[in-house]
């Protein structure tokens, strides 16, 4: 192999890449947060047994789960654009991952809701709580406890999917910054190797902090 590694330019642009990493964390975290909120509603809609609620929820979930995440981002970026709704690459990426996260999480939450005994709801209602209060204070916390491990996996997925922004022209997240630098310097291997290391660290950081959060929130 007569390839000359050149790490110096990579080290010089490390601060830029770290800013990109921060952007990646922001996108992945936001998409996860929004996705979780949407997924709770989707799961509840699917459980409601009313067709006008469960049918749209079903369509959302099945589309999210049966098409590539990149396709969903394209749909927002190019598809909505053709309707005259110009969506930037950041928004398309964020909304696309949120859509995907919500679909996958909704399916997880459905299982989680099924794991909370019906008696809990009845007990809460007979103590005088309203339907919303019961969900918020009794059912949802227990449901989240049941699905927390699956949520951690989805969190990592969220990080991995956030790399797709570069394909619709995002230049500010970790992959985007790396690609920009790559285009200028052509040190593809070096830059993407460092990006891979940073992604690994981000994934691990999310997994680890999720464990800490789980320990703090869900201990009896």
């Amino acid at each position: 192999m007569d390839y000359q590694f050149q790490w110096r330019p990579v080290l010089r642009s490390l601060p830029e890449m770290l800013w990109g990493a921060l952007q990646t964390i922001e996108i992945a975290g936001l998409a996860m947060l929004l996705g979780t909120i949407l997924a709770i509603f989707l799961a509840l809609a699917k459980r409601s047994g009313k067709t006008y609620l469960s049918l749209p929820a079903d369509m959302w979930i099945e589309t999210a789960r049966n098409t590539p995440a990149l396709f969903q981002i394209y749909m927002l970026f190019f598809g909505l654009g053709s309707l005259g709704l110009q969506v930037g690459s950041y928004a398309a990426l964020l909304l696309g991952i949120t859509f995907n996260n919500a679909g996958y999480l909704a399916e997880t939450f459905r299982g989680g809701f099924a794991a909370v005994p019906e008696t809990q709801t009845r007990a809460a209602r007979s103590l005088g709580m309203g339907a919303v209060q019961t969900q918020w204070h009794i059912v949802i916390p227990q449901m989240l406890r049941a699905v927390f491990h699956a949520m951690t996996n989805q969190m990592v997925w969220s990080v991995l999917m956030s790399s797709l922004g570069v394909i619709v022209g995002l230049t500010t997240d970790l992959t985007g910054v790396t690609q920009e630098l790559n285009v200028v310097t052509y040190r593809t291997f070096e830059y993407f190797f460092v990006a891979a290391c940073l992604y690994y660290l981000i994934s691990k950081a999310f997994t680890l902090s999720a464990r800490v959060v789980a320990w703090r929130l869900f201990r009896y």
Partner: protein
Amino acid sequence: MYFGGSFSWGDFLFLLSGAVTTLSITLLAVVIGTVLGVLFGLVRASAPGWIGNSLGAVLDVFRSVPLLIQLVLFNSFNSMLKLNWPTFTVGCICLGIYASAFCTEIVRSGVDAVPQTTRRAARSLGLSWRQELTSITLPIATRVVFPSWIGLTLGVMKDTALVLWIGIVELLRSSQIVTSRVQEPLLILGITGLIYFVMSFPIARLGNQLEKKWGTQ
């Protein structure tokens, strides 16, 4: 001169040829991933702790780094080492290794799901280690993890969309090519999505049904 046009039958056939590329990459990647995954999974489940754990840690890297980055790295490896493999091969191998990282954990969980007592009983009946593995553990484990394996296959199929980044014209890329001529992104993306859905949904349903049917026993 008018170069544009409406969506024609030829465009649809072009999309379908993209879908065929998607399916062939999926097939090859899943074959590579399953063969490696079964091998690594057995090592993970039965080799001494430190070997299994270090293999697990290495494979974990493939699950924690975006596939896009892996593809770019693998592609640049290809040119650095002057292997001159076609991008199709690069895509298949990269996806295959990626799939093997997931398949390893699936196989391991399957082997772990076989009760120790069953395995010991088989050995006490005089089966050798290999016989016990091939006629007791693997059949039971296969049944347990088959639904997850279907899930993995579908996941790989959806991840093949990313190989467009290294220049392979698969379904999603061919939809873009058609769009650049027909200029109706929503329609063509809609059709593309439908093709993906048709390829994925029935198999996903089958997986769910098998999971329900086998899970209750």
